[in-house]
Symmetry: C2
Subunit: 493 residues, 2 copies
């Protein structure tokens, strides 16, 4: 077989000479690793100046630039102005930290540029399958469960709820749509549930009217009595309760619902149990907090992220579904051009592995499993358990510092890795304290000392630190507390 | 401000010594660039052997391995068994090719590990905004349109149809759900439309009963008369027609619907025009095919990929929505912990930029815009136009070879970059030819010469080459044709 030579007219996006790109690649490795190694020395966050913002108002480039010129542009205008979540003192919202090795794995995946949607005779599918198997093993799901790597927990929640909807509606919803529903389907969540649940419910055409937001107890867990009463009431009114969504790690306070109790209720009431475990599921790997997620292994579907508390670079989450056939029935749709080869040979010759498009609404799927596979092999699950435990211990440490400081007040229990607190002064009322704490938050960010976020608990504005950061040290929390007090005094005077 | 030192007890996932990881990074750059430079010398595809498959059946690793050991595992078990889409003679389905520079950009993005969901004072948001602005410019959408980068066209279609559903239903569907629909909402697509449309419609709770699959003309374009009749019939039956989905590049044959005519019908009938332009939209950049997508700029929403015909590594697509407010109203949902800061300062101090979570169902969003931004700057839009034109010219060239070969028969018109053909022999009937062509397809794959896919057109099984490959040369198609004939003769005897 003769390898065709290029005609002078054949163009390509590959470089003619690969050596300069190789040299640029080395520079990128140098720069990125130095960027990560020295992250602690930089401010957590600094706003992009106006000239940088206006830099991004140019018309589409028509003519080429060298890769080096493009990279210089990146170095000047993009790299210096991150949102800051890789910094040791970024504890805002629930962002992940990432690792250098994870980023290199993403480079390998993008170089292979594999589409992991279909076919099972290529390595990416086996890597994804193994990562999903490891998740089942770590989180107590049976080997017969199905699983899917997703862009994150929003999609994992969406998929879990789609399977729940179709499995519990009692008719062929894929064909007929929700219009065919004889009764409104309703689901139950706590008032502390993540907004991605409502987004999913709206997207699925169930309507937010279908969500019963159940109050929480003093630990911000769903109130079980209120939940049971709501189910009974809805049944009496002729509605169709179909699902409870348990939270394993709420965004506001890190609360974990009583999942064992929710599983009992679901069993008794014939409801689907979906657990939104975006970050909280990983408590399962720790010695002191694994009991908090007891019952999670009884969920019908379990959604979680790797890019938060497993410190893997964005984007990657996962959904596990106990009954693989229900998952398959919700999404499988095989067009003519994707039928499996009759012969059992060739790329589309089926074997025993699932095709992930049968479990997904994505048809093209990148190779996001690689960074998890490589990272879990690099560190081992035990190390992840220790890192997660370290964040939990740090949260308790921070809570202790807050309780010891007369100027500060802990605003919620700290079951896991989220600490809500408030700067206080006896001469200021609640409203004035709301304003002062907002100012402290902004000042911490603007000075680049630390990034927290704020939220409202029981009507009061509080500062909030969510610890999903493998770079934080104990002493970072000493600094946080002393700076909050310093800024509070300064602003309050 | 004193920088905290690490306690001996502080653990991290960062290396203690960065130098070995730097060295490993160089090796990865060397290996990946060589892998891409030499891709032509390897078989397009080879199945992973059994011992490789069983390698991926290990329990979760508990203990650490060195990064070098993990990388060796990758080199041995993952890298040699790709699905093949980066190879110059991979023309199966519609897969993208990617580039080395795009993969390096993904490494930069993963190193920064930015979450591009919210806030506008960091560079990733500005990069995404610029990429979306460039898309509007290249594809003729007004600057006032909204846009969003997605994982691919499946999600872009889903978002476009979600906005269409909510905008056209006539009631508050986000709140009430489809149950609230007084009439079944129906939408119109050609029988050649991509399966992601049906997946979206099912996910949205509309039900596949809501899809009217309209026959196509001899060019595989939606039949306009049949379409108009279907709309009239549905209106008479009290249903609510709400949307037409036009195809810009069907998977089977690359057909592009008459988008100008569809836009006229939508205007007259007050319907939403969504265009699924996964790969076909990019014909807009070419001198000879841009007229085929005329009318696309009149769509209400336009969905397309970068990871197919723009040769960007997976995953990246985009949706543009003409009326930004309708897009916003479909997805915006601001929980307490994501409210913009009152002060206009700090990370969550709003300015004039959109927060992409207000236009998306994803809350966490990676930094996928960077690889497009860097690639478009590197090559310039004109070069992309030439590459896309080259694939179109190659498709015509291949069609010419097929028409000149007595053993081969062109099975469909070749308007764009997809060529469907069939090996024939006068002594074999249609059924025997179906079997023979399936065997040819598998043989081409198994020998590693080329990867095509197959499909069924007018009841006949045909071979199908989809050209979204910047590495293909003219001579690769000479080889394809001669090998198909050789294998056909060999198998047929």
């Amino acid at each position: 077989m003769l390898e065709p030579n290029a005609l002078p007219t054949d163009e390509t996006l590959d470089p003619q000479d690969w050596e300069p790109l190789r040299q640029l690649g080395y520079r990128m490795v140098d720069d990125m690793l130095a960027y990560l190694e020295n992250v602690r020395a930089r401010p957590v966050w600094q706003p992009a100046p106006d000239q940088v913002k206006t830099h991004f108002n140019q018309p589409v480039p028509l003519d080429p630039q060298t890769p080096e010129e493009v990279y210089d542009d990146f170095l000047e205008n993009v790299l210096p102005y991150p949102i800051g979540n890789i910094h040791p003192r970024f504890w805002g919202w629930v962002f992940g930290t990432g690792t250098a090795f994870g980023a290199l794995a993403d480079f390998l995946a993008a170089s292979m540029n594999t589409n992991s949607g279909d076919f099972d005779h290529h390595s990416a599918i086996h890597v994804e399958k193994q990562v999903i198997d490891w998740c089942k093993e770590m989180l107590g799901f049976p080997p017969s469960a199905s699983g899917l790597l997703t862009s994150g927990c929003s999609v994992a929640n969406l998929i879990g709820l789609a399977v729940a909807r179709n499995a519990k509606c009692g008719f062929d919803l894929r064909r007929e749509g929700n219009q065919g529903a004889p009764h409104r389907m309703v689901l139950y969540v706590s008032q502390q549930i993540h907004s991605s649940i409502q987004k999913s419910v709206e997207l699925l055409g169930l309507g937010s009217d279908s969500i019963r937001y159940i109050p929480t107890n003093q630990n911000y867990q769903i109130d079980l009595d209120a939940l049971k009463m709501a189910i009974t009431k809805d049944r009496k009114e002729g509605l169709l309760p179909f699902c409870i969504v348990g939270a394993a790690g709420t965004v506001n306070t890190g609360a974990i619902d009583d999942l064992e109790a929710l599983a009992d209720i679901c069993e008794r009431e014939n409801l689907w149990l979906h657990v939104d475990g975006a970050f909280g599921v990983w408590a399962a790997l720790t010695p002191t907090a694994s009991h908090l997620v007891k019952g999670m292994d009884r969920a019908d579907s379990l959604a979680f992220d790797f890019h938060k508390w497993m410190y893997i670079p964005y984007e990657i989450g996962c959904v596990l579904v106990r009954h693989a056939d229900l998952h398959y029935k919700t999404f499988s749709l095989t067009p003519e051009y994707l039928t499996r080869a009759d012969q059992g040979r060739g790329i589309s010759g089926g074997s025993d592995l699932p095709w992930y498009t049968d479990y997904d609404f994505h048809l093209s799927r990148g190779f996001r499993s690689l960074k998890v596979w490589m990272s879990l092999k690099q560190h081992g699950a035990r190390k992840y358990g220790r890192m997660i435990q370290q964040n939990i211990d740090q949260a308790r440490y921070l809570a202790g510092l807050i309780e010891a400081a007369p100027e500060l007040m802990l605003a919620a229990p700290v079951p896991l890795n989220v600490v809500c607190f408030r700067y206080t002064r006896p001469d200021l009322d609640d409203k004035a304290l709301d304003i002062l704490n907002k100012e402290i938050l902004v000042e911490l960010q603007e000075t680049g000392i630390a990034v927290l976020s704020g939220t409202t608990l029981n009507g009061r504005y509080v500062l909030r630190a969510a610890l999903t950061n493998h770079r934080s040290r104990r002493a970072d929390f000493d600094l946080l507390v002393s700076e909050v007090i310093r800024i509070g005094k300064q602003l309050g005077s």
